[in-house]
Point group: C2
Chain length 313, copies 2
């Protein structure tokens, strides 16, 4: 596919179009992803999550710049499952990153809510694959919003950084156990503020209490991102974690699990469409819905009928 070739040769417009293609699940997307798959697996995918106001964007910005000193190719996917009520914080955040946009070896992409959240997570995952296959060394997935959905999104990363900040009310107490479990390491950002040491200490204690005995002990690092403090240490931590993942065999396990989930998800999506088409095409759907509306049958009984019609035994 010409678009794939051009994107892999560094054509940024082709890259952007390719990501749009896979995001929208265009018909050509399958062909593109088939071709790209062979080139995937080299990039380290890093998820960055944390409460609003913790400075995730600034931190990501600085991490990208630090990695650029080593001439690495870096991509950022900024995910914004924008609330329809509060909306639009992302734009301001991303504008701050605009100087990075001038760098040929940095690629920044925003992703907003489209339809379902399942869709957003799938779109992020597909874009990650495109970037990986186009030889980006690091792909950051940064979530701008806050919620379970973002946690699900960053779960797809090899390395997950949870960013905390002092002075957010209940601080650590407000954080649920789930967060501790997804973090491969923790960054207390805005560490020049009062209470930063306490946040780090409490995090450390909660991590120690965590019953899961892990081989990898998640470090707790401090940063003042807007003053570039602590950035080099975080980059070192990111690299350490990737080395650990590779040497321990955990990377292969994680990726295999992700492939399994992905494979079955593609299967189920395809099946849904095939069945929807089939019942529609054969005019059966109307008939089914008529009898449901008249309460002549119920959805569960009907499902059995449809399955017998569709599935090989």
């Amino acid at each position: 596919m010409e678009l794939v070739q051009r994107a892999r040769q560094g054509d940024r417009r082709a890259l952007a179009r390719l990501i749009t293609l896979v995001e929208n699940e265009a018909p050509e997307a399958v062909e593109a992803l088939q071709e790209l798959y062979l080139f995937t697996g080299k990039a380290q995918v890093i998820g960055i999550t944390g409460p609003p106001g913790s400075g995730k964007s600034t931190l990501t910005d600085k991490l990208v710049k630090e990695l650029r000193k080593e001439k690495k190719k870096v991509a950022v996917i900024a995910v914004d499952p924008t609330s329809p009520f509060t909306g639009g914080a992302i734009l301001g955040d991303r504008i701050r990153m605009s100087d990075l946009n001038l760098d040929e070896d940095v690629y920044i992409r925003s992703m907003g809510t489209r339809g379902s959240l399942g869709g957003l997570s799938a779109a992020t995952s597909a874009a990650t694959k495109v970037l990986d296959a186009c030889d980006f060394d690091y792909v950051f997935i940064e979530t701008v919003g806050v919620g379970q959905s973002e946690v699900d999104i960053v779960k797809a990363a090899d390395t997950t950084i949870v960013v905390m900040v002092p002075g957010l009310g209940d601080d650590i107490q407000a954080i649920k156990a789930g967060i501790l479990e997804i973090g491969d390491f923790f960054v207390v950002n805005k560490a020049d503020r009062d209470g930063a040491n306490r946040v780090a200490l409490e995090l450390r204690m909660m991590l120690d209490l965590n019953e899961q005995k892990l081989v990898w002990q998640p470090p707790v690092l401090m940063s003042v991102a807007n003053q570039n403090q602590g950035i080099a240490e975080i980059v070192a931590g990111i690299k350490d974690h990737f080395t650990y993942l590779k040497e321990s065999g955990e990377l292969a396990i994680k990726r295999r699990e992700r492939l399994e989930k992905e494979l079955l998800e593609i299967v189920s999506k395809k099946i849904y469409r095939q069945i929807a088409d089939k019942v529609q095409r054969e005019g059966k759907l109307k008939q089914y819905l008529d009898s449901l509306m008249k309460k002549e049958t119920d959805p569960y009984t009907l499902v059995k009928v449809i399955l017998q019609d569709v599935i090989k035994t």
Copy 2:
């Protein structure tokens, strides 16, 4: 099924167990839902959504009490896709409603995040069906959090109320077009605050600008829920909307569309499970994943193979 009978006879503990059953997609849930389906379709399902701090819980509380004056059976499903970072606002809200809990003809149920958001929306929908079949006249689905997911949840309602409030910063400007489209009516709550009239006026103007020409013109109402002001008018509006839906035929259309989506979702979920079991059982999954990890094939090519194996052509 005995549990269904008891729940339909007004046994509250049976009702609670039944909802838990369908929420968790227990094996017996299908049998229960099959039986219940015939009794569904009478309740008016009302979604209540809006930004945090708009007083949705208090408003719902008062609406329930107003409907109780007419001896209606009323249920409230309080949905809280709790953020893992902020968590737990719902408890305080629900405690305020505790006097309603003493009323035999009021049923209140909280639903938290469980696994995926798709799961939460499915659980809400299933619980709504149980309550409808158990002769509740009104089922309120109130979302405590804020986000696209909640909007998706309330979309399953017959009537959607969007609650606004003066003094939330950018007010109306911050609200996206999507919200205007889902609201069957709008309530400006805390209308004793400065700026309430302006919020109502702006809403009205934005609704008029809305290009979709609707038969139903969404009213904008004012309330001070904690002083019981405007509640009777909202209840009247809820009833008007249901009458409109029935007389225009829109209710039947909406419900038919919902049934279609639901039917196909149940089918694809069932097939997904069958396929996952099948490939696992036959030891093919391991083989598939091995060849994926070795890049001998790609997920999309593999999906075709799996489908050919399972689906009738």
